[in-house]
């Protein structure tokens, strides 16, 4: 599988959940389900806001420390998006099941247990946002995420979006950035050696992917965008996935 596959998404894939989504990008496929707002258990209950519960399940085996770490990152990002104050004493449960990864998860997965699994983070976040939209959970804004690595090739450093797994292993630094639909930085996780200048380059690249002006563009601008960079526009992708679903649901309108 090539690492630069175009993202794909399908909403409302599970019949019993309040909302669900299947998202695949860069060799990762994740299914997410959202239930809520539902009654929270006494120990999770918060008097003034909803408890957001994120569960990450790996493609193989049971979740461990790595998954708990991913969950805590996702939980704090998603709680920023969801209007948690609207549902005090409630629970919003988000389950993310990894279906497919570019590497073989069955082999030597536990060797790198201590490190954070960076390349999967954007796929998990994107699935969660799509599933939340599918469940009509009231939100402040939507979000888009991207994975960027700084590779050192022939003595020069290059900023690459969604590099293949082999390049990630040799990358000087890897970064995950997510932005809300109001162009605010929602999540920034970095690993490796990098300078401030490199981080600025990474930030600009990620922002270009995540924060293009989306559906408001006219035809000629769209063509110009596709010509530059790699044409990846997460915001437009998110909008078109949701629009397709909404139009199918409201066929009677």
């Amino acid at each position: 599988m090539t690492a630069t596959t175009a993202p794909e998404a399908k909403l409302q894939v599970l019949p019993r959940a309040d909302g669900s989504a299947k998202f695949s990008s860069a060799g990762y496929t994740v299914i997410g389900s959202v239930n809520g707002p539902i009654e929270a258990q006494r120990r999770d209950e918060h008097a003034y806001e909803a408890h957001v519960d994120v569960i990450v399940r790996p493609a193989a085996g049971v979740g461990g420390t790595r998954e708990r770490h991913l969950e805590s990152i996702l939980q704090s990002s998603l709680a920023q998006l969801i209007l948690v104050k609207n549902f005090p004493r409630h629970l919003i449960q988000i389950v993310l099941q990894v279906e497919e990864t570019p590497e073989n998860d069955y082999a030597n997965a536990k060797l790198v247990q201590a490190s954070l699994n960076f390349p999967i983070l954007p796929a998990l976040l994107q699935t969660a946002v799509l599933a939340l939209l599918s469940a009509s959970v009231p939100m402040r804004a939507t979000a888009t995420a991207s994975f960027v690595a700084v590779l050192s090739q022939d003595g020069t450093n290059k900023v690459v979006v969604d590099p293949p797994p082999r390049d990630i292993e040799t990358a000087r630094s890897v970064h995950v950035l997510a932005f809300t639909s109001h162009d605010e930085l929602l999540l920034a996780e970095s690993e490796g050696d990098f300078t401030v200048k490199e981080w600025d380059d990474v930030y600009d690249t990620a922002k270009r992917i995540c924060c293009q002006s989306g559906g408001a563009k006219t035809g000629i601008e769209m063509e110009l965008d596709d010509a530059g960079d790699n044409g990846l526009d997460m915001r437009r992708f998110l909008r078109s996935a949701v629009e397709t679903k909404v139009e199918a649901d409201l066929h009677w309108k």
Binding site: L133, M139, R140, S181, V246, A248
Partner: protein, 252 residues
């Protein structure tokens, strides 16, 4: 409405001020899926769906058909009695949510001596009178002003079928066939089936009839027809076909 002039919004989108209705006298009324942000004095969608504006009534809302039921005042709902506690029945409106309360005396012509005795599992058709994020919802089965039931009250016999929130909303429109594109109930009634229905905004439809084996078959057929219309997104033509098939199966 043509597909081209649909406005589909996502949470946090900016709404074009030109589409926001400006009623001359009253304040603008915001329906589900919208919130007013005081800091920027703007109206922002909170769910994904189609933005609907009514310039005549000065109201706007976001039409979406999925998700978990969130109680809102004056919604008609179908609830299941969990138990009786003090002067209240505790009523379940949707799975895994806190119970709503229904006072023993808010039924038509109910007094301390002549109130309906409802056992756990009994069904009621009720109206939401209190929906507040900090409190559990409250229900009533009688109109506060007239003291009449207006069709609300215990539902006896029949069965309840789960449908999507969007389907429940379509069935509750004043003319489901014209405005909501649901003709399946009308078509089945035209074929000579005799049944009653009650639609709850919480995604539940009750189908009732007299108790007999033939009627039980019919109730299940009607309920399944509704669910199939909902799940497969059938249009009126496809619903006609579905009804013909059901009638053939029932006559066997």
């Amino acid at each position: 409405m043509a597909a081209t002039d649909r406005i589909i919004v996502l949470p946090g989108d900016t709404i074009d001020p030109a589409v926001i209705p400006t009623p001359r006298r009253n304040a603008i009324r915001l329906g589900p899926g919208l919130r007013h942000v005081q800091a920027t004095n703007s109206i922002v969608p909170t769910v994904a769906g189609q933005l609907i504006t009514d310039h005549g009534k000065g109201s706007m809302w976001v039409e979406s058909s999925t998700g978990h039921y969130i109680p809102a005042i004056s919604d008609l709902v179908i609830g299941q009695i969990t138990r009786s506690q003090g002067d209240y029945y505790l009523v379940n409106l949707s799975p895994y949510t806190p119970n709503a309360t229904l006072p023993h005396l808010s039924f038509e012509a109910a007094t301390k001596k002549t109130r309906p005795q409802l056992n756990p599992g009994a069904l009621v058709y009720a109206r939401v009178t209190l929906a507040n994020r900090h409190m559990d919802p409250e229900l009533e089965c009688v109109s506060q002003t007239t003291g009449k039931g207006d069709g609300l009250g215990p539902l006896t016999g029949g069965m309840v079928f789960d449908v999507s929130l969007g389907m429940a909303r379509r069935l509750l429109l004043s003319k489901p066939r014209e405005y909501g594109g649901v003709a399946v109930l009308e078509l089945l009634a035209d074929e000579g089936l005799a049944f009653e229905t009650a639609v709850g905004r919480n995604g539940k439809v009750w189908v009732g009839s007299d108790k007999s084996e033939a009627n039980t078959r019919m109730v299940i057929a009607v309920g399944r027809a509704l669910r199939e219309t909902d799940e497969r997104g059938l249009d009126v033509e496809a619903q006609k076909k579905l009804v013909r098939r059901i009638m053939k199966e029932l006559s066997r």
